[in-house]
C-alpha cells in the first residue's frame, strides 16, 4: 500500500458523509425494511465510514483515532442526528461484545510475566494509591456535590454515604479498550506504554473485587432493614474463580489450536467470541476477565502469543471503529448538557486525584521521569466497565439508581472523550509513539 499523500480536503469528506447520511435517512423513510436487520447493517456502515473519516481528520491535529470514532457515533447516534437509531444500537450489542472480547484477548496477551515482574514495584504502589484512596476521595467529592445533583438532595446522610461509596468504585474504573486502542494506533513502546497496559488490564480485577465489597458494605446503608451479609463475597469468589478457570481453559485450548492447527485463526476467534459472550452471561461470569486470562495464558505459557496478537490485530481498526463508534452512539450528549456542572466537577476531581496519586506512587516506586510526569495519562479514560457498574446500580437500587446511572453516563462521556486524547499526548511527548500517520500503513499487520 502506498503511504503518505496529500490530505483529503474536509469538504469532500463532509459532502460524502452528508450524501450517505441522506441516503440512509431517505431509505428509512421509504418504509419498513424488506429484510430484517437492513437498517442495522446500513447503520454499521455509516458508523464505520463516519468513524474512519473523522479519525483521519482528527489525526491531522494530533488527536487519537478513538476520538474520531466516538464523535462519529455521538453525532450520528440516536441522541443527536438519529442517523443510527436506538434499535440499531441495541442490535449491535453482540457485535460490540465480540469486539470487546477480541480487545480483551489482545490485552491479556500484552501482559507479559517478565514485564509484570520488572514493573512490580511501580504496579504495587500504583495499585495501592490509585484504588482505595482515589475511591474514597472521589466519593467524598460526590457527597459534597449534593447541591448540584438533584437525586442526592433528599437522601439521608447514611444513604448518601452508601451512594458515595458506589460512586467511588465507579470512579476507579479505567478503560482497557481505550488504552489498547491508543496503543494500537501509536504502536508505542517504552516505560509509559508498558506501565499503562499492565496497570489498566490488572485493575479490572481490583475493581471487580472492590465493587463486590462496596455493595456488601453499602447495602445496609442503602436499604434500611437489611443487614451486612457476606454472602455476596461468596458469589464474588465463585465469579472470579469460575472466570479464571474458564479463562485458563480457553487459553490452553487456544494454545493447542495455535500449536497444532493455526489456520483460520481470526474465524475461530470470532466464533469463540460470539459463542462465549452468550454462554458467559448465562453462567454469570466476568467475560472481560475470562478473555484477559485466556490471552495472558497464551502469551505466558506458550510461544503462541505473537500469533494470537497478529490474528487479533488483523481485524485492525475495524474492531475499534465498530466498538467506539457504537460507544459514541450511546453517549447522551443532551444529558451531558443538562448535568454538565456536576459532571465536570466529578470528572475534574477524579482526574486531579488520579494525577496526585500518580505523582506520589511513581516517586515512591522510583519510576523513570516519563512515568513520573505522565503515569496518570492512561488512567483517565472510562468506558464500558463504568457504564456496566452504573447499569448494575440502576437495576439494584430503583430509588436512586436511574439518577446515578444518568450522572455516570455524563461523567463517562467527559472521560471517554478526554482520556484517549490525554494518553495520546503523553505517548507523543515521551517519544514512545512509534507510528506516525503514514507509517501505520506499513506497520499494519495482515488481516489474516
Amino acid at each position: 500500500m502506498s503511504a503518505k499523500g496529500p490530505r483529503r480536503s474536509l469538504w469532500v469528506e463532509a459532502l460524502v458523509l452528508g450524501l450517505l447520511a441522506l441516503l440512509v435517512a431517505g431509505a428509512e423513510r421509504a418504509g419498513p425494511p424488506i429484510v430484517a436487520g437492513a437498517a442495522t447493517i446500513a447503520s454499521v456502515g455509516l458508523l464505520l465510514l463516519g468513524g474512519t473519516l473523522a479519525a483521519s481528520l482528527l489525526e491531522g491535529i494530533g488527536l487519537p483515532h478513538l476520538t474520531g470514532y466516538l464523535l462519529a457515533g455521538a453525532v450520528g447516534g440516536p441522541h443527536l442526528l438519529h442517523l443510527v437509531g436506538h434499535q440499531a444500537v441495541a442490535d449491535l450489542a453482540p457485535v460490540n461484545a465480540l469486539a470487546l472480547s477480541l480487545i480483551a484477548l489482545a490485552g491479556g496477551a500484552e501482559l507479559r510475566l517478565e514485564g509484570l515482574r520488572r514493573g512490580l514495584r511501580s504496579l504495587a504502589w500504583a495499585a495501592l494509591l490509585q484504588n482505595v484512596p482515589v475511591m474514597l476521595l472521589t466519593g467524598a467529592v460526590f457527597a459534597a456535590a449534593r447541591p448540584l445533583v438533584p437525586f442526592l438532595r433528599d437522601l439521608s446522610p447514611g444513604t448518601l454515604a452508601g451512594v458515595a461509596l458506589l460512586w467511588g468504585v465507579l470512579a476507579i474504573t479505567r478503560s482497557p479498550s481505550a488504552c489498547l486502542g491508543v496503543l494500537s494506533q501509536t504502536r508505542a513502546r517504552g516505560p509509559l506504554a508498558a506501565f499503562s497496559v499492565n496497570f489498566v488490564m490488572s485493575s479490572d480485577l481490583v475493581v471487580v473485587l472492590l465493587l463486590a465489597l462496596a455493595l456488601t458494605v453499602a447495602r445496609p446503608l442503602l436499604e434500611p432493614g437489611t443487614t451486612f451479609s457476606p454472602a455476596a463475597l461468596g458469589e464474588l469468589g465463585h465469579e472470579l474463580l469460575g472466570s479464571v478457570s474458564l479463562g485458563v481453559t480457553l487459553g490452553l485450548l487456544l494454545i493447542a489450536y495455535l500449536r497444532f492447527v493455526g489456520r483460520q485463526l481470526l474465524l475461530v476467534l470470532v466464533a469463540i467470541g460470539l459463542v462465549l459472550t452468550n454462554v458467559i452471561d448465562y453462567l454469570r461470569l466476568d467475560w472481560l476477565l475470562i478473555f484477559l486470562v485466556a490471552g495472558f495464558v497464551v502469551e505466558n505459557l506458550s510461544r503462541q502469543g505473537p500469533k494470537l496478537l497478529h490474528a487479533v490485530e488483523g481485524a485492525g481498526e475495524v474492531v475499534y471503529v465498530v466498538f467506539f463508534a457504537t460507544a459514541g452512539a450511546h453517549l447522551d450528549l443532551p444529558l451531558l448538557g443538562s448535568l454538565w456542572p456536576a459532571a465536570l466537577l466529578l470528572a475534574g476531581a477524579r482526574a486531579a486525584f488520579t494525577v496526585a496519586a500518580s505523582a506520589v506512587s511513581t516517586r515512591l516506586a522510583g519510576d523513570p521521569p516519563a512515568l513520573r510526569r505522565w503515569g496518570f495519562a492512561a488512567l483517565v479514560s472510562q468506558a464500558g466497565l463504568a457504564l456496566g457498574i452504573a447499569s448494575r446500580v440502576a437495576d439494584a437500587f430503583p430509588t436512586f439508581g436511574p439518577g446515578f446511572a444518568a450522572l455516570a453516563v455524563a461523567v463517562v462521556a467527559v472521560n471517554e472523550i478526554g482520556g484517549p486524547i490525554l494518553f495520546k499526548i503523553a505517548l507523543d511527548r515521551t517519544g514512545e509513539s512509534q507510528a506516525e500517520a503514514g507509517e501505520e500503513a506499513e506497520a499494519a499487520p495482515s488481516i489474516t
Partner: protein
C-alpha cells in the same frame, strides 16, 4: 450446552478443513464445498448443533459476507491475477453464463409448469423469481477452482490462463439475473416498475462506488481503506436490503465503479481477496446449515432440472471453448467439464435469496446453489486436473503444504 458443542465442532471443523485442503492431490475444497457440507452436518437437518436461533444470530454475518463477495467480484470484474481478461474470453464467459442462467431458469420454469398443472410457464410471480434466482445462482463458472489450480497444483500455461479468464470473466450474468429476480419480486419499492428498480439499484452502486473512490483518492492507508470499503459495502447492502433491491447488484457495481475510478485498483483487489477468506467461511457454513430439504414440496425434481440444465449448458460452452481455442484443445474434451465449477458467488446468490425470500423461493435457490457447488466439486475438479495434466500444464504434482493451506482458506 449445545452452544459449547457448537464451539468445539467449529474448532474441530477448522482443523479438518485446513487439513483436508492441505492434502495434496486428494481432497479438494476449492469451491468451499467442504464448508457447505460441514454446515449441513451441523445444521438443524442433521446434528442440530446449529439450530434456528444460532442460525438467526449468524444471519447478519452471512449478509455482510454476501455484500463483500459482491464487492470483491465487482472489483475484479474484467481482471484476473493483475492482468486484463482478453475480450474473447470475457465475451465467451459472459454469454456462456448468461445462456446457462437462462437455460436453468427455463428448466426450472418448465419443471414447475409440468409438476403443477395449471400453473402455467412462469405465470406466477413467485415462479418467475424462483426461476430467475436459480438461474442466477447456477449461471457462473466458479473462479476459485482455477485459482486453486494455479496456487496449489502449480498449473501454469495457456489452458490454465484461459480457464481462469473464463471463470473470472463471467460474473456479470449471475449479477444481472439476480437483479432481475429482485426487481420483479413483489414487495420492496413497489411503486417503481421493475426497470426503475434496477435503475435505482444501479444508481446506488454507482454513486457509492464513486463516493468510495473519492474518499480513497489521496489517503490510501490500510486502516482507512478497510473502513471505507467495509463502510460503503455495508451501506450499499443495508440500503438495498431496506428497499428490497438486489444487494448483489449494488455491491457488484460499487466494486466495478471503484475499480474503474480508483488509481489504487490493484491494491484494492488484493485487499478484497485477502479479506474475503475470513468473511466468506462463516457464510458458507451458514449456507450449508440453512439448506432445508423440505423448503419446497417439489424440491428434488426442481434440483434435478436445474442441475441438469446447468451441466448441459456448461458442457455446450465447454465444447465451444475446446473447438475455438487451440489452448483448450490441448486439454482434450475433458476440459469442458472444468467449466461446471461453482463457487462463492453462486452460494452468495443463494444466501441473498434465502435472506430476502424466506420460504420456498429462497430455500430452493439456496439448495440449488449448494447442490451446484457440491456437484461442481465432483465434476469440475477432476476434469480440470485431467485437462491440465493432458495439456502438460500441471507442473507441480507435489506442492508444499503451506500453499495448500493458503489457498484452501479461500474456499
Amino acid at each position: 450446552m449445545r452452544i459449547l458443542a457448537l464451539l468445539l465442532a467449529l474448532l474441530a471443523a477448522s482443523y479438518l478443513g485446513g487439513a483436508l485442503v492441505a492434502r495434496r492431490g486428494r481432497g479438494t475444497l476449492a469451491s468451499g464445498a467442504g464448508w457447505l457440507a460441514l454446515g449441513a452436518v451441523l445444521g438443524p437437518q442433521a446434528l442440530g448443533l446449529m439450530d434456528g436461533p444460532v442460525v438467526a444470530a449468524f444471519r447478519l454475518i452471512a449478509a455482510v459476507a454476501v455484500g463483500w463477495v459482491a464487492l470483491a467480484v465487482g472489483l475484479e470484474f474484467g481482471w484476473v491475477g493483475g492482468r486484463r481478461i482478453r475480450l474473447g474470453a470475457l465475451l465467451l464467459g459472459t454469454l456462456g453464463s448468461l445462456a446457462c442462467g437462462v437455460a436453468v431458469a427455463a428448466a426450472v420454469g418448465g419443471a414447475l409448469a409440468w409438476l403443477e398443472p395449471g400453473a402455467g410457464f412462469l405465470a406466477r410471480p413467485d415462479d418467475l423469481v424462483l426461476a430467475l434466482g436459480t438461474g442466477a445462482a447456477l449461471a457462473d463458472t466458479g473462479r476459485d477452482l482455477f485459482r486453486w489450480g494455479a496456487g496449489v497444483a502449480g498449473a501454469r500455461g495457456p489452458l490454465a490462463d484461459l480457464l481462469a479468464e473464463v471463470g473470472d470473466g463471467d460474473d456479470l450474468a449471475p449479477v444481472a439475473l439476480a437483479a432481475a429476480a429482485f426487481a420483479v419480486a413483489p414487495g420492496g419499492v413497489a411503486v417503481l416498475a421493475p426497470a426503475a428498480r434496477v435503475g435505482v439499484e444501479a444508481g446506488l452502486g454507482i454513486v457509492l462506488g464513486g463516493l468510495a473512490a473519492a474518499l480513497l483518492g489521496s489517503d490510501f492507508r490500510r486502516n482507512t481503506v478497510l473502513g471505507v470499503l467495509f463502510g460503503t459495502s455495508l451501506v450499499a447492502l443495508g440500503l438495498a436490503a431496506q428497499l428490497g433491491l438486489s444487494w448483489i447488484g449494488a455491491g457488484f457495481l460499487l466494486g466495478v465503479v471503484l475499480s474503474l475510478a480508483s488509481r489504487h485498483r490493484e491494491e484494492l483487489r488484493a485487499l478484497a481477496l485477502e479479506v474475503e477468506r475470513p468473511v466468506v467461511l462463516p457464510a458458507l457454513i451458514l449456507a450449508g446449515a440453512m439448506v432445508d430439504p423440505r423448503a419446497h414440496p417439489r424440491l428434488l425434481p426442481l434440483l434435478v432440472a436445474a442441475l441438469g440444465a446447468r451441466l448441459l449448458a456448461k458442457g455446450a460452452q465447454g465444447a465451444l471453448v475446446v473447438a475455438a481455442w487451440p489452448a483448450a484443445r490441448r486439454g482434450g474434451g475433458v476440459a469442458a467439464g472444468a467449466l461446471a465449477a461453482s463457487g462463492p458467488l453462486g452460494v452468495a446468490v443463494g444466501v441473498a435469496f434465502a435472506l430476502r425470500f424466506p420460504g420456498p423461493v429462497g430455500g430452493t435457490v439456496l439448495a440449488a446453489a449448494v447442490a451446484s457447488a457440491l456437484a461442481g466439486e465432483l465434476v469440475a475438479t477432476p476434469s480440470a486436473r485431467a485437462a491440465l495434466r493432458a495439456a502438460g500444464e500441471l507442473r507441480d504434482e507435489d506442492p508444499p503444504a503451506e500453499a495448500g493451506a493458503a489457498q484452501g482458506g479461500r474456499a
